[in-house]
């Protein structure tokens, strides 16, 4: 496969560079922060990796509650965890 250029994005205003094909969930894990706080304030990360559990939801380019495991990183993307 030809070498594809890396992708640059912001996660909570922190710049990160990842390979093409990286999911937003994996990128958030690379940064090492929780995806969200639960309704009682527990930090949470992804569980199922396939869009079922909704633990990985994040705000992606202004759209809230996106399941970050189902979205690929794109150049210039802005991601916020809650």
């Amino acid at each position: 496969m030809p070498e594809l250029p890396p992708v640059h994005l912001l996660i909570n205003d922190v710049a990160i560079t990842v390979d093409q094909g990286t999911t937003v969930a994996s990128a958030i894990l690379i940064v090492g922060i929780p995806m969200r706080l639960s309704v009682t304030g527990e930090p949470r990360g992804p569980l199922c990796g396939m869009g079922i559990c909704f633990e990985c939801r994040a705000t992606i380019d202004g759209a809230q509650h996106q399941r970050s495991c189902q979205v690929l990183c794109a150049e210039g993307m802005e991601v916020r965890t809650s």
């Binding site: 994996s26 995806m35 309704v39 199922c48 990796g49």
Partner: protein, 439 residues
């Protein structure tokens, strides 16, 4: 505006791809709609070092006339012959004459103290993260649960440089190794994988063993494992824990398909109990990729009215059904797994409902009404499955609470609400979720 297809296939894993290609080859106008960014389902996930079989089918799909709709999830079936799909920005109406449901399966998760800590994931869950770009080299990983997926995941993560600390299979695995190999889709390849796993992990494979607790401050730091009377702690960065697979039945249930014993009932041509609706792959019985491909082809042929060819393939399918039953027996859960969660352990991760609160109730419905269990964004997909095992609550009653929208939707999607309105309480439920999701 409604896009119309002769045959619409939901789910682009092996069953859905086979169904779509078979129907398209018969000259039908076929749509293939799927929630994920790329076709292939969980087993042929993009980024994988893909098998020849996967490359072959995905290549054929790319070269076919099938209209591929990736990144769209079905949220409602507003009227006969119509589905509503939501994407990341908008909605679309998908019309069909024949519908083929190939919705696949998910992992079964069971609660134990600490299972909500970050970096405790499913076995397939961690694998998906790694295939999605998470570096795993040098990380310490415990793989646990049950089913053939565990060894496959461990082998894949090890190839990527992970240090596999332990593989814990709740069932007595060793006597099933050759048998499991034959079930994993490509027997020769599966056998290679298992031999690789055995030679690589050797004594780190524990059978009759499971995690009893996960510990850590902000994220996972260690796992306590138990095997018989012995209990010990392993330091690790990730726990990949899944208890085999359960089918995704929400859409078949919404369509009114008859479901028995946890699976969609189909006839020899993969026809469900509802006219013009077919079902193929894991929702009709967990049987792996080869069976899913076969069922997909049968459904595609039958939906395209090529009944003779479908019948010929159906005879081949019948010979494989023994394996489905046997796999189900192999992965049967040890009843002691019901005792892992304490009263304080959360069962519903969306609404943070602990086991102790659920114990007070006699049914899924009662528990939902009193505790909000199963009423968060996942709509009980995780805690409903766990509750079935923990309390013996009837799967049928859990599915009977399925109503549109199947997933939380955006408020703007309710612009399609003519579609949701005729379902009575459906609109109310949609509105509630939408407002909750936009808090």
């Amino acid at each position: 505006m409604t896009e119309r297809f002769d045959i619409l296939v939901v789910g682009a894993g092996p069953a859905g791809i086979a169904a779509a290609l078979t129907a398209a080859a018969a000259g039908k106008r076929v749509g293939l709609v799927d929630d994920n960014p790329a076709a292939g389902g969980q087993i042929w996930r993009s980024g994988a070092a893909q098998s020849t079989t996967a490359r072959n089918w995905l290549g054929r799909l790319a070269a076919s006339s099938v209209t591929r709709l990736q990144g769209w999830r079905i949220v409602d079936s507003p009227s006969r012959g119509l589905l509503l799909a939501e994407g990341n920005r908008t909605c679309r109406n998908l019309g069909y004459e024949q519908l083929i449901l190939a919705t696949g399966a998910r992992e079964r998760f069971l609660p134990f103290p600490g299972w909500t800590l970050p970096n405790v994931m499913g076995a397939g869950g961690l694998d998906a993260m790694v295939r999605g770009g998470l570096p795993i080299a040098g990380k310490r990983v415990v793989v646990a649960g049950t089913g053939p997926l565990l060894l496959a995941v461990a082998a894949h993560l090890a190839r990527r440089g992970a240090k596999i600390v332990a593989i814990c299979e709740q069932a007595p695995l060793r006597r099933f190794i050759p048998f499991l190999a034959s079930l994993m889709g490509e027997p020769a390849k599966a056998m290679q994988g298992i031999e690789y796993a055995r030679s690589t992990f050797g004594s780190r494979i524990y059978t009759g063993c499971w995690p009893v607790a996960a510990s850590g401050q902000e994220k996972l730091e260690s796992v306590t494992l138990r095997r018989g009377e012995r209990q010990w702690e392993e330091r690790c960065d990730y726990l990949a824990c899944g208890f085999h697979l359960v089918p995704n039945l929400e859409l078949p249930a919404l369509m009114g398909c008859h479901i028995q014993g946890g699976f969609v009932v189909v006839n020899h041509l993969q026809q469900a109990s509802v006219p013009d609706v077919f079902c193929a792959g894991e929702p009709t019985g967990i049987g792996g990729m080869e069976l899913a491909l076969l069922e997909g082809e049968i459904a595609g042929l039958a939906a395209a009215r090529n009944t003779d060819a479908a019948n010929r393939l159906a005879r081949r399918r019948r010979r494989t059904l023994g394996f489905v039953r046997a796999l189900s027996a192999v992965t049967e859960l040890d009843p002691r797994l019901k005792e892992l969660a304490t009263d304080a352990t959360l069962v519903c991760r969306c609404e943070d409902v602990p086991l102790g609160k659920l114990r007070e109730h006699g049914s899924w419905r009662e528990a939902k009404l009193h505790t909000r269990c199963g009423m968060g964004p996942c709509q009980g997909r995780i805690c409903g499955t766990a509750s079935e095992f923990l309390f013996g609550w009837d799967a049928g009653s859990i599915l009977s609470s399925v109503r549109p929208p199947l997933f939380p939707v955006r408020v703007s999607s309710l612009g399609h609400a003519d579609t949701l309105a005729d379902k009575g309480d459906g609109l109310a439920s949609a509105g509630m979720l939408a407002s909750k999701e936009t808090e």
